[in-house]
């Protein structure tokens, strides 16, 4: 059988990288991000990237690492706070950004993966986000045409994976990962645990292996917390 499991991130990315490519990455904030594969992209030094990702990481973690090394030309994101280097590069004109409302971004990625080149949404109508985009009325209400997104490479993080590429995500670390896995011409997954054949309940697979061409055991699972909020034990 065609082997999907690779030894490490570097070998899993071999042959898939080129300057100027578009890479979609799963994750929300620092939750559910493919830490190991991001490190490998930094190491590979591939440049001039367009990154599709809801967020841009923080200064020294997540996609922020790729910004620090100036490998990114453009971000397609919904929110890029918490990143000073991002702000510096953007204000200096070194970085382009295409803002996309979060739900529209999620749907655009899903659409790209599902062969849908465009869809209409109410989100953003009458705002800057809709400027220059086609509007259409349905039952007297205005909707804006948003485009599906595809990427040359999609990178995702999952809790578990098997050799067929089936993936299971963990709690809110699921977020953008399932759609991102579908939108790549090639998709590489890193998993916290490789499970044996038949381990998965077939009803509980989140991403079927058809979407995953290569996978590795993640070696970076730092999972930095952005806002640690706790409560005290009740009396």
């Amino acid at each position: 059988m065609a082997e999907k499991i690779f030894d490490d991130a570097r070998s899993a990315l071999a042959g898939l990288l080129f300057d100027g490519m578009t890479i979609a990455a799963g994750g929300f904030g620092l939750c559910g991000i493919p830490e190991t594969l991001i490190d490998a992209l930094v190491e590979a030094g591939v440049g001039n990237l367009t990154i599709i990702s809801n967020n841009a990481g923080v200064d020294n973690f997540g996609l922020g690492k790729l910004l620090r090394t100036h490998q990114v030309k453009k971000m397609i994101s919904s929110y890029v706070g918490e990143n000073r280097e991002f702000e510096r590069q953007y204000l200096a004109g070194e970085l382009e950004i295409e803002f996309c409302p979060q739900g529209t971004l999620a749907e655009r990625i899903r659409a790209g993966g599902a062969g849908i080149p465009g869809f209409y949404t109410r989100t953003g109508v009458g705002t800057l986000i809709a400027e220059g985009k086609e509007l259409k009325e349905f039952e007297g209400e205005s909707f804006v045409l948003e485009r599906g997104l595809v990427a040359d490479l999609a990178i995702v993080k999952a809790r578990r994976g098997d050799r067929y590429g089936n993936l299971q995500f963990h709690k809110s670390a699921r977020n953008f990962n399932p759609m991102v896995a579908t939108c790549g011409r090639a998709t590489v997954a890193e998993v916290e645990e490789l499970v044996p054949d038949g381990w998965f309940d077939p009803d509980a697979v989140h991403t079927p292996g058809v979407f995953v061409q290569r996978l590795i055991l993640a070696t970076s699972n730092e999972k930095r917390i952005e806002r640690r909020t706790v409560r005290q034990e009740e009396a």
Partner: protein, 218 residues
């Protein structure tokens, strides 16, 4: 502007007032900041399910120190806990819920609200723009939008205005506005806002004096 110092409601008061709008069985999305506090004031007599746009349905309170899980966060990226009802979906499915009108109420903060229900809460020209996040999707999709904000800016400028001066998050999307001075509501999105309640020690004239928007009196 009000000549004498009028404080009106506190942040907690605003959250508590918003909580009174929730009904048994509601699915509710709370924005970042003061809106997050709303969860502390939900009546024990009703059952409300909190949804977070990063794909968590059924948010519990902040976790105990030894139960913090980096994979369990809300849309404000705060660690939270699970309930027996909790489920997770992808961001696409989560916004399907929001855009499709399946969430009953969203409580959000704002920079400006206009008398026609327009809302601005995502960018200030000239300042670094962080992006709309999920706010545009929420105002476009959730059935009822409640805004919590200070009645005036720090420099005293009214924030409830004839038209928004800042770039919009959504047009004609606000159903209820709760400020530190008063509560405004409208019957539907074709109707004007009406002043419904005043904070303690605040008069109708006080509110009129620091509001640019036209509104009806109850």
């Amino acid at each position: 502007m009000i000549g004498r110092t009028v404080r009106g409601w506190t942040r907690e008061d605003l959250a508590a007032r918003a909580a009174r709008e929730l009904r048994d069985g509601f699915y509710v999305n709370l924005g970042i900041g003061i809106p997050t506090l709303v969860s502390n004031f939900i009546s024990p007599d009703i059952d409300v399910t909190l949804q977070s746009e990063n794909g968590m349905i059924g948010l519990g309170p902040y976790p105990l120190e030894d139960r913090v899980d980096p994979d369990i966060i809300n849309a404000g990226k705060e660690t939270v806990s699970e309930l027996t009802r909790t489920s997770y979906v992808s961001s696409a499915d989560s916004f399907g819920m929001i855009r499709g009108g399946h969430i009953d109420v969203s409580v959000l903060g704002a920079m400006e609200v206009a008398e026609d229900g327009n809302l601005a809460n995502w960018m200030v020209p000239g300042r670094m723009v962080k992006g709309p996040g999920g706010a545009m999707d929420l105002v476009a999709g959730v059935r009822r939008i409640i805004v919590l904000m200070d009645h005036v800016a720090k420099d005293g400028t009214p924030k409830f205005r004839k038209t928004c001066s800042l770039p919009l998050t959504g047009r004609n999307v606000v159903d209820m506005l709760i400020t530190n001075l008063a509560v405004f509501e409208r019957a539907d999105r074709q109707s004007p806002f009406v002043l419904k309640e005043l904070a303690p020690g605040v008069s109708r004239e006080d509110v009129r004096a620091c509001t640019e928007a036209a509104y009806g009196e109850a």
